[in-house]
Amino acid sequence: MDKIRFATVWLAGCSGCHMSFLDLDEWLIVLAQQADVVYSPVGSDIKDYPENVDVCLVEGGVANEDNLELLLNVRKRTKTLISFGDCAVTANVPGMRNMLGGAEPVLKRGYLELAEHSPQLPHAPGIVPELLAQVLPVHQIVPVDIYMPGCPPPADRIRATLEPLLRGGNARHGRPRHD
């Protein structure tokens, strides 16, 4: 059977979901035999998200312009997009800044009001991505095929989600109970 083209991306999250992915331990070897890792912060060094990806795990909420641009590319170039973990599904902890209102009050709070030394707002166009007004869950930006809640989702839940996709089966039947 052909290997599937597999990717993972890391938006606004703590990378804990990716750490949980690495907790798949020896099953990662099984995965490597059945999947080509074409893009991943923990599995490849490719900088641009490629075309024709079969399955992508998306960790994190959508917090800044970089996140947004990457996510739009992911959706365009991926068959099965998995909202991976609570930040992707609910905005979770990154979303707690939404209670302050837009990007400006958040930056002022973080870099001016709470600063002890040389308070100043970060300004480096083209280098530091601009914050979006709100951190949003992935499905509020693009359609999502599978939701995998958990903070982080435990490794066996990740495996139960991916296994049917490796067999080319219907993803939804492989969705684990989130308990």
């Binding site: 599904v89 905005a91 902890v93 707690m96 939404n98 209670m99 869950p137 509020q140 903070c151």
Partner: protein, 238 residues
């Protein structure tokens, strides 16, 4: 005692007059999901999880406060009700700021359990991210309004079991919140006996013991049932 007979999900049920549909369903081992209902205190029909279809009524009726009637035909689990229940839970999550990963009740939360029961894996409604407050002025307890679903269990246990009536419901609509005393910080309310019944009653992590961190909240729910039984049936041991 007059007995009423009715049909719930096609099953014949007989129960005394004055009983609710929820009691009748329980008697017949038919599960109806509830969140705000708490054995021993007055039902409030606040959460709308227990809505059922009753033949001849165009409205859905809350099972916890609807009395049985002779010949009633009740449906508790139609596709329409399942969809409404899931929407209801999604709305509860979207309304407040429920950040499970940092909550004292994570893994021990009736709202989380309900999400799993109704098969919710994400909210189809945009989160509101309301600006709500945390009151930790009480020596032993705290209330985090971000996690409150306004079930009013705390209001009812404090009033009806403890008899202190520290809690009440203030404002309306999206501004609605659980208020302590005369809108004072909880720690300044003289009426509070620090009994902790509100902590035991709260289905989420909204009311908690200080010092608890993520996932550590434990409740002594049996204490509430014991007190009610003690009062009503004069059984004084646990």
């Amino acid at each position: 005692m007059t007995v009423k007979t009715l049909k719930i999900d096609g099953k014949d049920v007989a129960i005394e007059r004055g009983a609710t549909i929820l009691q009748a369903a329980k008697e017949a081992s038919i599960p109806i999901p509830t969140l705000c209902f708490l054995e021993g205190v007055t039902p409030a029909a606040a959460c709308r999880m227990c809505l059922v279809e009753v033949e001849g009524s165009s409205k859905l009726l809350p099972a916890c406060v609807t009395e049985v009637a002779e010949g009633m035909v009740v449906q508790t689990n139609t596709p329409k009700l399942q969809e409404f229940r899931r929407m209801n839970v999604e709305l509860l999550f979207a309304e407040g700021n429920h950040v499970c990963s940092i909550c004292v009740a994570n893994g021990n939360c009736e709202l989380q359990d309900m999400a799993i029961t109704v098969g919710m894996d994400h909210s189809r409604f945009p989160y509101r991210f309301p600006d709500r407050h945390v009151d930790v002025s009480h020596e032993q307890f705290g209330i985090d309004h971000n996690r409150c679903i306004l079930c009013t269990r705390c209001v009812r246990v404090c009033d009806e079991i403890e008899g202190a009536h520290v809690w009440d419901v203030a404002q309306r609509g999206e501004h609605c919140f659980i208020v302590s005393g005369l809108h004072q910080p909880w720690g300044e309310v003289d009426a509070c006996t620090a009994c902790g019944k509100c902590v035991d009653a709260c289905p989420t992590g909204a009311i908690f013991r200080k010092g608890n961190t993520t996932g550590e909240k434990e409740r002594d729910r049996a204490k509430l049932a014991f007190l009610v039984t003690a009062r009503e049936k004069h059984q004084w041991t646990r």
